[in-house]
């Protein structure tokens, strides 16, 4: 047993190391690459000595760095949200996007943006998060009602996708009838993008997402018990009602934060937890939750890098890139499930 434990720890450490290296490399690339390529020397000067070419200085400090922070925080939040939903529904292909939760948030945020922006010039982050959370809970509520009626999980996913479509359709209608000035903003945002993040946004994100993630981590023990199913979790002393409510609120909230700032980003919530758990060969939340967060950050850093640089100066939406990488993983999981 000792040997096996050691092997497990080695695997955890290797996974962690690989993720950290990827994390660092991707941050560096994200700083360096883009419509303007900044040399490493300039980067060091700008970041550590606060001097250099003013254009580059502004690009780095005002554009790229906040955007990187957004990828890190929101990517982690998405992955964690996916992890929670998979635990909740006991299904590896549950995630905020396929269950329509992201789209629900999107709809409400669009509604709030359009109504408020038509009267005032700006919308506060807090009201956007609140709107996104309301939308997330709305979708989640529908999904939960459906999940009581249908036993099969594939039906649940289909229903989730349908809810997603309805919400997207309503969002499209709203965008169609919105004022011209707002459309540009909304359109970009509704596709999923980290662009235009300010340091103030980053501050709000961090102060909302990080404590929530910490709560998730502290709930590792009941989450682990819940992985054996409700019956056993209850027998182990978990307050099931409270726990289920917490799980729904936390996963919706994390997803809502992402949508409020970056719009719906697809498949991160499924792909990342799956990859991380496969590498770790365990779903123990104590280990899996922090690494899922890190994995989500890495995944989004990578996707955003590709989105920005692949067809520069034209920018893709992050969601486009994350779909291209995420969907094959989802299909793989579904096929493997079938075989079992």
């Amino acid at each position: 047993m000792k040997e096996n434990n050691d092997k497990n720890y080695i695997r955890y450490i290797i996974t962690l190391t690989v993720l950290i290296i990827l994390f660092a490399v991707l941050i560096l690339l994200n700083i360096k690459l883009g419509s303007v390529d900044v040399s490493v020397k300039d980067i060091i000067d700008i970041l550590f000595h606060r001097r250099g070419n003013e254009t580059n200085y502004n690009i780095l400090w005002k554009v790229r760095l906040p955007r990187i922070m957004a990828s890190i925080i929101l990517g982690g939040a998405l992955a964690l949200s996916g992890f929670l939903l998979q635990t909740f529904f006991n299904n590896p292909i549950a995630g905020p996007y396929v269950l329509g939760i992201s789209s629900g948030s999107k709809m409400m945020v669009a509604l709030v943006m359009i109504t408020i922006l038509s009267r005032y010039h700006s919308v506060s982050s807090a009201s956007l998060i609140a709107a996104a959370f309301a939308g997330a809970i709305l979708s989640m509520g529908f999904v939960l009602i459906i999940s009581r009626r249908v036993q099969s999980v594939s039906m649940l996913i289909v229903c989730g996708v349908m809810i997603g479509y309805i919400c997207s359709a309503i969002t499209d209608i709203m965008i169609t009838f919105a004022d011209d000035a707002n459309i540009v903003n909304l359109h970009n945002w509704s596709l999923g993008s980290f662009s235009g993040t300010s340091w103030r946004d980053v501050g709000v994100m961090a102060s909302v997402v990080l404590p929530t993630s910490l709560i998730v981590f502290l709930m590792s023990k009941p989450i682990g018990a819940y992985q054996l199913g409700e019956g056993y979790a209850k027998n182990m002393g978990v307050n099931i009602k409270l726990f289920r409510i917490m799980l729904v609120l936390l996963s919706s909230f994390l997803c809502a934060c992402v949508t409020a700032f970056a719009g719906p980003i697809s498949f991160v919530g499924i792909a990342v937890p799956h990859l991380v758990k496969s590498f770790l060969r365990t779903s123990k939340p104590l280990i899996a939750t922090p690494l899922c967060f890190l994995g989500g950050s890495v995944f989004c850093l990578g996707c955003d890098l590709i989105a920005r640089t692949l067809f520069a100066p034209v920018e893709l939406s992050v969601s486009t890139v994350s779909s291209i990488f995420g969907v094959p993983i989802v299909i793989y999981i579904m096929l493997r499930k079938r075989v079992q």
């Binding site: 682990g224 199913g229 019956g231 209850k234 027998n235 182990m236 104590l286």
Partner: protein
């Protein structure tokens, strides 16, 4: 409240959504006793078990463990007292068997659920007790049903409970694992004083493993008692509505329906030689008469369930002339005779005479019912 008992229920009524299903259940169990719930499908065995484990809110009445009502017990206290093995099939993801067993330590670990050295020892002991230690690194989804059931039992054991509740624990098991599982339960009851409450489909097993048996059927519990009291022909036949077969308490097993009609075959048997013939005749739906059996003959037990009529003598007595004559008279109406006996002893020598008479009367003499 009765302090003599470790586990008891007072006027317990259980059911779903406030609708009572079974009322006024009174269970009294001492520490280390095994109680088995038997009864037809859908009679409410699981409902009772779920109420005991607090998975289901009981409608009224009280459940006491060690003289404390479980209603006022905290989740943690409850978890340290009662462990369950459920029927639902578990769907785990990337969990080794050891991980699954280790979840049983939940009520004892700290806030993050990290296992201490002591916890690891407990996990190992539990797994060794159910002979599953060698499975520790296997994925839980990749082992057999029998192994899975043992792992779940180990999980319950390392929860260090005083009561283990099992819902149909032998459902997916073959005989080997079934015996093993029940042996382990007996060990737990005897050596660790763990009280076991479970439901079983296999009546023969229930008879062998339980200290107390409760019959669940209908609105009230009609019978609860020792296996000896419960496993009676009448009681069990009524419990399961056996109009199409019968229950034999000595064998602890069920027999198919007795062939109907006018018996055409007479079977001379004894010393267990008749059993195979009786069964063959039953399968072919041929009614038969058999004799002359001693009451302590094993053939007599089965003949009671399958034969249209049985001629018998008191145990340890030679066959009397009176019995012989009445048998002979009955045999006359049967055109076919099957003699299973090859040798005769002092007590049943009259069977030889019976056979000879049959031959003399020109009856069709068959070696076996398979020839019919």
């Amino acid at each position: 409240m009765n302090t003599k008992y470790f586990f008891n229920t007072k006027k317990l009524t259980v059911g779903y959504n406030g609708k009572p299903l079974i009322k006024d259940i009174e269970i009294n169990l001492k520490k280390g006793q095994i109680l088995t719930l038997i009864g037809p499908n859908g009679s409410g065995k699981s409902t009772i078990l779920k109420s005991i484990t607090k998975h289901l809110k009981s409608i009224c009445g009280t459940i006491y463990i060690d003289n404390k009502s479980i209603e006022n017990m905290s989740n943690k206290d409850m978890a340290q007292k009662v462990a369950v093995v459920l029927t639902d099939r578990l769907k785990t993801e990337l969990m080794t068997c050891k991980d699954v067993v280790a979840t049983g330590r939940y009520p004892y670990t700290g806030m993050l659920g990290i296992l201490s050295k002591e916890d690891n020892i407990q996990v190992r002991n539990a797994m060794e007790l159910v002979n599953a230690w060698e499975l520790r690194n296997r994925d839980f989804t990749e082992i057999s049903d029998g192994q899975r059931q043992r792992i779940l039992l180990a999980r319950a054991i390392c929860q260090n409970p005083e009561i283990i509740v099992l819902d149909e624990p032998t459902s997916f098991l073959d005989i080997h694992y079934e015996l093993e599982l029940l042996n382990i339960l007996r060990t737990l009851a005897e050596e660790r004083g763990i009280t076991v409450i479970m439901s079983l489909h296999e009546l023969d097993m229930a008879q062998k493993v339980s200290d107390l048996v409760m019959c669940v059927k209908g609105e009230y519990i009609t019978h609860i008692g020792t296996p000896k009291e419960i496993f009676q022909k009448e009681l069990i036949s009524k419990l399961y509505d056996l109009s199409n077969g019968s229950y034999n308490p000595l064998f602890g097993s069920f027999e198919m329906e007795r062939p109907k009609g006018v018996p055409m075959v007479f079977v001379i048997a004894g010393d267990g030689t008749g059993i195979a013939e009786y069964r063959t005749l039953q399968k072919k739906r041929i009614p038969f008469v058999t004799g002359i059996l001693h009451k302590n003959d094993i053939d007599y037990q089965l003949a009671q369930d399958l034969a249209s009529e049985v001629f018998f003598e008191k145990s340890f007595e030679p066959i009397s002339e009176e019995t012989f004559q009445s048998t002979l008279k009955r045999m006359q109406s049967c055109p076919i005779v099957i003699n299973c006996l090859e040798t005769y002893g002092e007590l049943n020598i009259k069977n030889k005479a019976l056979y000879e008479m049959a031959l003399r009367q020109g009856k069709k003499n068959l070696e076996s019912a398979a020839m019919l």
